[in-house]
């Protein structure tokens, strides 16, 4: 009797540990998916600004709205990278392990984007299209700065 219940307990424990692990992993897989969705929203908002800037007479309200959106999204960026949502999450991700092993610099790079998008939002709010154009370049470089260091290049 005692032997059997010990066996059942052991089995239950093993099961729960496995299930717990699987749950944690699926949570991390979800974190990767959420992150990708956030980055796509960010890309879409930035592209909306750039597309507007290409026009002869950019719609200032659209530029301002998307710049504000961009600033809001960038503020959230550091929260998209919970520990465990790297390559070990078990789903395809372009996030390099360096995001976590080199965290202070990664966060500094994210901060740079937050600073540049905040400036973009300010200039767009003021309706200064010329300044917005120059600042959009700075935002793009902040994107690139982080991608070059913490993102696996495509088609490699």
């Amino acid at each position: 009797m005692a032997g059997k219940s010990r066996w059942v307990l052991g089995a239950a424990l093993a099961l729960s540990v496995t299930a717990g692990g699987a749950l944690a992993q699926s949570a991390m897989a979800q974190a990767v998916k959420d992150r990708q969705a956030h980055f796509k929203q960010q890309g879409a908002a930035f592209k909306a600004v750039l597309d507007e800037l290409k026009k002869d007479a950019p719609d200032k309200a659209a530029v301002a709205a998307n710049a504000a959106k961009l600033k809001g999204i960038a503020a959230q960026l550091p929260t998209w990278f919970p520990k465990g949502s790297g390559p070990e999450a078990g789903v395809k991700t372009a996030a390099k392990p360096e995001v976590w092993t080199d965290q202070p610099n990664f966060l500094a790079a994210a901060q740079r984007l937050q600073g540049e998008t905040a400036k973009l939002d300010e200039l767009a709010g003021a309706g200064d299209i010329g300044a917005v154009k120059a600042q959009a370049r700075a935002v793009g470089l902040a994107c690139k700065n982080c991608h070059d260091r913490y993102r696996v290049p495509e088609n490699s």
Binding site: K40, G43, A44, K47, K54
Partner: protein, 225 residues
Amino acid sequence: MSTASASGVRARLWDAPTRLVHWALVALVLFAWWSAETDRMAWHRWSGYAVVGLLVFRLIWGFAGSGSARFASFVRGPAATLAYVRTLPDRTKADMPGHNPLGAWAVLALLAVLIAQSVTGLYAVDVDAIEAGPLSDRVSFDTGRLFAKWHHWSFWALEALVALHLAAIAFYLVYKRANLVRAMVTGRQDFGRDPDLSFAPPWRAMLAAIFAAAIAWLVSTGFRL
């Protein structure tokens, strides 16, 4: 115009526009590859627009150009292609002016992939969104990213076709003792008898070139006049 020799005649085969387009495409594809690899995207876009112009010209020339450049003169059906394939093991040179039926399909495939390469590039959006093709404002960020992916895939197809093209040239040179590169440089080739090809007048090439350049320029502006 031809010069007779003991084994036959050396006669004009490829006109200047066809050769110029061919070698310009070689140079521009290499340049576009290099500029993309080294992140010189402004140069990459400009080389793409030039390729668009060359492709437009080559397509016009395929219908209104000199005889050896016209699709109707060299594109053949499956039966003729198969018949030609059966003669491949023969070590004799094919005594036909210009593209053989099998090479004709390679020409069409190369043109199709170059068109795909150009069109996907026009709509492509880089991961940072800051680098993008001139027509990318017509599509969403996600779609633009998809075009960028296809742009990479079609480049793989292009690399494969170029490798096949070079292998075929080596095969003809070594196995069949036919120097196809020289003909594409000088425009002349040795024939058993004068093939008596027709050549388009220069003014027609000029008109086609102006039209092609205009299209390339329009594309580069994203059709925003």
